[in-house]
Symmetry: D2
Subunit: 260 residues, 4 copies
C-alpha cells in the first residue's frame, strides 16, 4: 500500500507545526498528598515536518497518547510522552498540550463543609533546539469587588465573578503543584469562590470581599508580585477577566514576564 | 441528472423535521420609531417530509432565505418566508428561526451619554395543522443583588450579571416591539446593565441594585406577573440565570405559561 | 440569622423550576462488563417552589450532589439522588441532569488496534405527579456520505462528520447500556468514526462509507426504525446533524416518538 | 467624587495590557467596489498602565468605540481609533481588535446563482514604541479531500470541511481587501464551499475536490507559497484545521513567517 505521506515535496516549505487537535483522552494526574485523579483531557499535539516530506503520519500521535493514558502524570512526564512522539514521527521539534478539569475538595470557610470544585488546568510541553520547556496553566474563578464603586456609593459595591488565568514555566528538575498555584492565586482576589456555602459562610464571603476591594489591575499586580518572588518560576503569564455585574462586557488585564 | 431525493422510500417514517441549521444570513429588522437595522442572523429552517420521499431538497431553503434578506422584517413577515418555504418544498409543516444580535442605543442613567448595547434576540415561526405561531425571543443581561447576602452581612451584598430570557407568542394581527419587551424585562431586575457608565452613573447603579435586592426567584416572578398582565401575550417562557459572584455555578429559574 | 428564603411571598406564582446550573461534579458511572469509569459531569438540578415561599435553599443541591459522587451510577440511581433532593428541599417535583464525556475503547476495524474514544452522554431524571421518568442520552459522531453526490458525479462523493443524538426513556425496572445504544446508532451511519486508523483501516472506512451512502433523512429513519423495534424503549428523540463538507452550514433532521 | 483610579500605586508593576473585552459594537466596513457593510463586531481594546497609577479609566474605551461606529472602516482607520484611545487614556501603547462576520455574495459555480456567505474576519491594530502595526485576519471554510484515502481505496476518498485561518500584516500605506485575501485562500483548498448548490453545482464541487486531493500540510504549503510571493505582505500566520470525517478530532497545521 503506497505511503503518500512519504512522497517528496518540492514546495520548499519546512512546516513548523502539524498534528492533531481536539482529541479526547483520559489521563491520570498525580495529586498533592493524595490518591491520583482520573481526568478527561482535550489534547493538541504537533511536530515539525521538513520540506522534503509531503505529510506526517497522524495515527502515530494517537498511538502514543493512548500509551500514556495509564501513567500517573506530572509536568515532567509530559517530556517523556513528547520525546516518544518526536521519535515516532522522526521530527526535530514538537509540542503537546492537555487541557482538563481538575477537582479539588474545598471546604466552606466557616461551617467547614467539604465539596468538590473543578478548575480548568493545562499541561503543556515543548521540545525544540533550545531544549525542553514545560508550562503549567490554571484558570481560577474568584470574586472581585470594585474599589471605585465602594468609595463613591452610599451603600454596597458592585462585585462579580472573575477568572484569573496563570501559566508558569520552571526548570525540569523542579515541580509546582496545581494545589499550591491555585492557593497563591486565590489569595490575590477580593475573595475566593466556593462550591458550597451555608448562610454563615455567605456572610463571611460577602464581608471578606467588601474588605478587599480590587480592580482587575490590583488582582493582576498582586499575582505578578507573588510570581516574581516565587523562586522556582522562570517565566509567567497572568490574565484577569472580570465579568462586570454592571456591564455586558469584561474588564481585563494581562502581563507576561520572564526572569531568564 | 437523476433526482435521488425523489426516490420512493419504504421505511414507513414520516419525518417531522428536516432542513438546514447554522446558516448565516444578513437580515433587515424594523426598529420602533427609527430607521431599520441590518443584523447578522444565524438561521435554522426545516419542513416535514412524508414517508414516501427519500429526501428533501436542501438548496431550496437557501434560495428562499436569500430572497427574504432584502425585506424589512417584523414578526409577521416570518410567516411569508415560511409559507414560501413550505410551498417550494411541497411540505405540510415547517419552522423557521433567526437568532441575531440587535443593537439599541442606551443612555447612561445620570450623565445621559448614549452608547450601543447588543441584545441576543430571536424570531421564530411555525406552521402546522394548527395554523401559524410566532415566537419573539430576547435575552437581557441585568444585575441581580442577593437579598440574603444583604440581610445577613454587616457590609455589602454579593451581586452579579444575570441573564433574563423571555420568549412570547401572540396573535398574528398583533405586534410587540423588541424595545418594549426589553424595557419590561429590565424593570424586573435589581438594576439594568449599561454599555457606558461614568462615575456618577456607577454610583447610581450600585445604589439602585442595593435598594432592589432580588433572587432569581424574585426576578422570575416579577417578569411572570408582568407577562400575565400583558394583554397581547398568549403564551410565554421566562428563564433567569445568575452567574453567582460567590460560586462557579449559576442560580437558575424557569417558567412556562399559556393563557389559551 | 434571618432566613430570607422562608419569607412569605404574595405574588401568587408557583415556580415550576428553580435550582442550579453549570456545576461541575465528578461521578462514577457503571460500565457494561467492566470496571467503573470516573467522569467529569456538568450538572443541572432544580425543584418546584410553591407560591408562598420567597426562595429555595440553593446550598442543599450541592450537598446532595456531593453525597452522590461516591456511588456507582446507573440510570436507576438518578432516582435516589433526585428523591433526596426533593425531600431536602421540601418540594413537589424536581429534575436532575448530568452531562459527561464517556470513554469507550474502540478497536480499528482491520488492524484491530485499541484506542479510547469519548462520547457526549447524559443521564436525566424527572419526578413529578406522574411519577419518575429517566432519559438516557448520547451524541455519536459518525461519517455520512451523500447518495446524491455519489450518483451524479463521475468520481467521488462528498462526505463529512455528522452527529447522531439520541435520547431514550424506558421503565424504571429496565436498563439500557450506553455501550449498546452507541452500537445501535453507529450501525445506522455510512460508517462509524474511529480514534485510531492505520492505512488498511483508512481504506476500509473509505470504502465502507462509499458502499453505504446516506442522507441525514436516511440516518434518521434507520435509527427510528431500530428504536421502534427496541422492546424496552418507551419514548425517543433522534437528531442527525451533518457538517456538510460542501457548505458552511449543516443538514439536519429530527424525530420524536412515544409508544405510550 | 474621588478618583480611585488616580491613586498612587506602590507595587512597582507597569501593567502591559489593561482594558475591556467581549464588547459588542456595530461597525461599517468598506467593501471592494461596493456599498459599505454594517457588521456586528466583538471588540477587545487595551492600553498600558504605568506603575504609578492604581487603575485605568475603562469608560473611555467605550466612548471612543462609540464615536468610531459611524466611520467607514478600513485597516488604516483602526490607527485613528487606537491613537484616540491612547490619547484619551494617556497611555504609551495600546491594542484594538474587532472580530466580525463579513458577508460576500458568492455565486454557485455552474448555475451561477448568487447567495450570501459569511466569513469570520478580524481587524487588529497595535501601537507601541516600534510604531503602528495592522493585522488583517480571516477564517475561510473550504473542502479538503484526503490524498492518502483516494490513493489506497478502490472507491471514493474521505473529505471534510476545513478552516483555513490567515492573519497578515502590511505597511500602513498599503491595503489588502478581504475579498482578495479570501479568493487567494480558497484557491489553495481541494474546493471552496458555497452557500447554495444545485445538482449541477454539486457534481462540479464533488469532482473538483476529487481532482485536487490535499492534506492540511498541502493546503498550508500552498497558502504559504502564495503569501511569500504576495508583495504587500510583511508577515503572516497560516493555520489549517480539517474536521476529519473519519475521526472525531481534527488534523491541524500552522506556520508563522516574517519577511522583515
Amino acid at each position: 500500500m503506497k505511503d503518500i505521506q512519504n512522497l517528496k515535496d518540492t514546495r520548499n516549505v519546512d512546516i513548523q507545526k502539524v498534528g492533531i487537535k481536539h482529541i479526547d483522552v483520559p489521563l491520570i494526574i498525580q495529586r498533592k498528598n493524595k490518591s491520583n485523579q482520573v481526568v478527561s483531557a482535550k489534547a493538541r499535539v504537533n511536530v515539525s515536518l521538513p520540506r522534503d516530506y509531503k505529510g506526517t503520519h497522524m495515527s502515530r500521535f494517537v498511538e502514543v497518547l493512548n500509551e500514556w493514558q495509564h501513567k500517573n502524570l506530572l509536568g515532567i512526564d509530559i517530556k517523556g510522552c513528547l520525546e516518544k512522539i518526536i521519535t515516532n514521527l522522526d521530527a526535530q521539534s514538537g509540542e503537546l498540550q492537555f487541557k482538563f478539569k481538575y477537582f479539588l475538595e474545598k471546604c466552606s470557610p466557616v461551617t467547614n463543609l467539604p465539596a468538590q470544585m473543578a478548575y480548568d488546568c493545562s499541561f503543556e510541553g515543548r521540545i525544540n533546539s533550545d531544549g525542553y520547556k514545560f508550562i503549567l496553566g490554571v484558570e481560577v474563578p474568584v470574586t472581585t469587588l470594585c474599589p471605585c464603586s465602594k468609595e463613591i456609593s452610599d451603600n454596597g459595591a458592585h462585585n462579580q465573578r472573575a477568572f484569573i488565568t496563570v501559566r508558569v514555566s520552571y526548570d525540569e528538575d523542579k515541580h509546582i503543584w496545581l494545589e499550591d498555584l491555585i492557593s497563591l492565586i486565590e489569595s490575590c482576589a477580593s475573595c475566593p469562590v466556593y462550591p458550597l456555602l451555608k448562610r454563615e459562610d455567605e456572610k463571611y464571603v460577602t464581608e471578606k470581599a467588601w474588605d478587599n476591594p480590587k480592580f482587575v489591575e490590583d488582582v493582576l499586580r498582586d499575582v505578578v508580585v507573588k510570581l516574581r518572588e516565587y523562586p522556582v518560576v522562570n517565566e509567567f503569564e497572568v490574565e484577569c477577566e472580570a465579568f462586570e455585574s454592571i456591564h455586558n462586557h469584561s474588564a481585563w488585564a494581562y502581563q507576561h514576564e520572564s526572569k531568564l
